[in-house]
Amino acid sequence: MSITTPQRESRPAADRRGGTRRVSAVTRAPWLLLAPFLALFLLTFILPIIVAVISSFTKVTRGGLFGETGVTSKFAGFSNYAQALADGNFVASMGRMLLFGVVQVPVMIVLATILALLLEAASARWPGFFRAAFFLPYGVPGVIATILWSFLYVPGLSPLIDIAGWFGLSPDFLGPSAVLWSIANIVTWSYTGYNMLIIIAQLKAIPTEVYEAAKVDGASPVRVAWTIQLPLIRPALVLTTIFSIIGTLQLFAEPQVLQTVSPAIDSQYTPNLSAYTTAFAYNDYNVAAAQAVLIAVVAFTLSFAFLAFSNRKSS
């Protein structure tokens, strides 16, 4: 590209018409090639977002007992947002996810990093096998994973609770205080392997010369991990952390499935569950849209805050 462009500019201006047509063809080509993607992107991504935002500023009022004497929609300003934020359960679900994220995301990232470093260490045995084994849970859909784990959580079915019983303990995995961490456990089990794989990919990109130099200097494996590998996989760590923050706010399937065995999980346990319930159980699409926009804003804010934080630290 950098070679052909000056050539075209130095072309004599004799065939100006042909020239401009050629230039416009060149500028048009990428758009034409992008068109299928752009059309779908607009239709399935941008447009729904616009509709959601418009919907979040609309309010429906009804006449009569069921709206049988007339239904009107009108612009509502921020009243849907006010209603969403005044809903204690929705705000509580946000708080719950923040608590969940603060604990679960670091635990998972640290775990994924340790696993990745161990598997990439020179002394690792059967790294291929273990890599596949650790990644395997990610292949189990969240719903199935939750059903599997619920058999280990439900009293009367769970061998874990039976074993704990021999020692005089009676853990309640599904009680109001424990169930959040039971979910965190499922999520960690599912996604640690996935994050580990991203980190391994970055570890593999570290040039061997760096390791050789470290070896010559007599660095221990721990020293190599701490001063070479960890600083060099920072981008992968930032990426996996941001994915995990967004993933945390979008938690849905696990609590939804676990609801059937845990009375402690209500219909607004996570922000997404809350928006889903508001839209499809309460039929309040407008407030649900406001909740969805709020979830997106929080996810953006947290992701950017984390990015800004990690950039500042590096500079």
Binding site: L42, L43, L47, I50, V51, I54, S55, T58, K59, V60, T61, R62, G63, G64, L65, F66, G67, E68, V71, T72, S73, Q83, N89, S150, F151, V154, P155, G156, L157, D172, L174, G175, P176, T260, V261, P263, A264, I265, D266, S267, Q268, Y276, T277, F280, A281, Y282, N283, D284, Y285, N286, V287
Partner: protein
């Protein structure tokens, strides 16, 4: 040079398409079919009616109808039960302007479907001619604001299922009143058995108990809805279960029909279940339960009230986007009020209690081996179906109301009471009504 270039045309086209899409995305469910002209029934041509329901093997029943009605073929589609996914699916189909001709809708949810203009007022299609076949009380529960919005399909008269061996161990008999029930519960606790669950996460059970005690939470008045959730009957029930939970008489760790409940009931750690007639099929799924269970009348409240209550029960609703409401209505009436339809629904789908008082269904006239040879359907449930609170009527946002109640009940663990939860829920539900643009006031005592 052409007037409009291809690009401009393309831009214009895209813009119009986008605008069209945007305008099609107005808040769903704000247009009513019940003010539009009625749709005439077809003559001669072959049509297909779709029925979305969570009854299993319903197509087998529909095929009996299909054989006799070559021009009106019924196709059934299975959906997850109610709030478990069936309603969200129906609501989103309605919001998209589609959906089936018929759908299974629980009694309590009819007003919620009416709110999104999801149901056809079948009184405009001659529902009155079928009214006489149905239990009056149930017909009242599908009649709102001068219209009829569903054909009763099944109901759930309640009774108490109990394990007679466990009762014999503590020398108890089936309790006739809730006070006796509490005494039996205390005896059973000494034998490491809970009498029953109290589901903090499912307000439907508490609601059924309150209705039995004589509560009537909502009524439609000319100027809007009137709420009365903190009446004496409801508070009596709340106080009773507050005490039962405080004394550890009931299991709150899991709910009936959850895996934990089946395990506990199989091991004899749960002695009774006060629930609807349809619970019999679920109880029959308890491993090793055959011959251990019996059925007795529901305990009564000392202050009066009724002998039984309803839990669950569903209707067949004609959905807003149906092209053939009259034919759909005829099928629904055949399915739910003829000997042929009811017997087939019992045999293949394990349907709940028949909504037609004249026909309880042939399979239900036989004694049951599982329930210790008891002829419990005729002896217990048939009378229970007549012992119902006639004042009860359902209201819009019932599910949200139930969620608000159960959210309050869940706080029981952290020190609040069911009484507090009920009183607080009443306020919150009024806010929900106002937020959706409906007028509501508190019943003045």
């Amino acid at each position: 040079m052409p007037l409009v270039t291809r690009r401009q045309l393309l831009h214009g086209g895209l813009g119009t398409a986008a605008l069209g899409l945007l305008s099609a995305c107005a808040t769903p469910g704000t247009h009513s079919v019940n003010t539009a002209p009625t749709i005439a029934s077809t003559t001669g041509e072959k049509i297909t009616i779709e029925y979305w329901s969570w009854l299993k093997d319903l197509q087998v029943v529909a095929d009996i109808w299909n054989a006799a009605n070559p021009n009106v073929q019924v196709k059934t589609v299975w959906i997850p039960s109610g709030n478990q996914g069936g309603y969200p699916k129906l609501y989103s189909a309605l919001a998209a302007g589609g959906g089936p001709d018929l759908a299974q809708v629980e009694f309590g949810v009819i007003p919620s479907f009416m709110m999104v203009n999801g149901l056809v007022d079948i009184s405009r299609y001659g529902a009155a001619e079928f009214a006489g076949r149905y239990d009056k009380n149930l017909w009242n529960q599908v009649s709102f604001a001068g219209g009829v919005y569903g054909i009763p399909q099944d109901s759930g008269p309640m009774a108490t299922y109990y394990q007679s061996e466990l009762f014999a161990k503590v020398g108890a008999t089936a309790p006739a009143t809730w006070d006796e029930w509490a005494d039996v519960a205390a005896e059973l606790r000494k034998a490491k058995t809970y009498i029953d669950c109290f589901p903090l996460s499912d307000a439907a059970v508490f609601t059924a108990f309150a209705a039995q005690a004589g509560a009537s939470w909502f009524r439609a008045d000319e100027d809007g809805w009137v709420i009365n959730m903190s009446d004496e009957a409801t508070l009596e029930v709340a106080r009773f279960f507050d005490k039962a939970i405080d004394k550890d008489l009931v299991q709150t760790g899991f709910t009936p029909f959850s895996p934990g409940w089946f395990a506990a009931a199989g091991k004899g750690e749960i002695a009774t279940l006060t629930s609807a007639s349809w619970a019999d099929a679920l109880i029959a799924g308890i491993s090793g339960g055959a011959g251990k269970w019996q059925v007795a009348d529901m305990p009564r409240w000392s202050s009066g009230g009724y002998g039984s209550s309803y839990q669950g029960g569903s209707t067949v609703g004609v959905m807003a986007n149906s092209k053939h409401p009259r034919e759909a209505l005829e099928f629904a009436a055949w399915l739910t009020s003829t000997q042929e339809g009811i017997d087939a629904e019992i045999e293949h789908c394990g349907i709940g209690w028949s909504p037609a008082p004249e026909i309880i269904g042939t399979p239900r006239t036989q004694p049951s081996d599982f329930f210790s040879g008891q002829n419990y359907n005729q002896d217990i449930f048939a009378p229970a179906a007549l012992e119902q609170n006639t004042q009860w009527s359902w209201w819009p946002s019932q599910q949200q109301s139930f969620n608000i109640l159960s959210d309050g009940f869940r706080q029981k663990a952290s020190g609040t009471t069911l009484v507090d939860a009920v009183v607080a829920a009443e306020e919150k539900i009024m806010t929900v009504f106002k937020n959706s643009g409906l007028s509501i006031r508190k019943e003045s005592a």
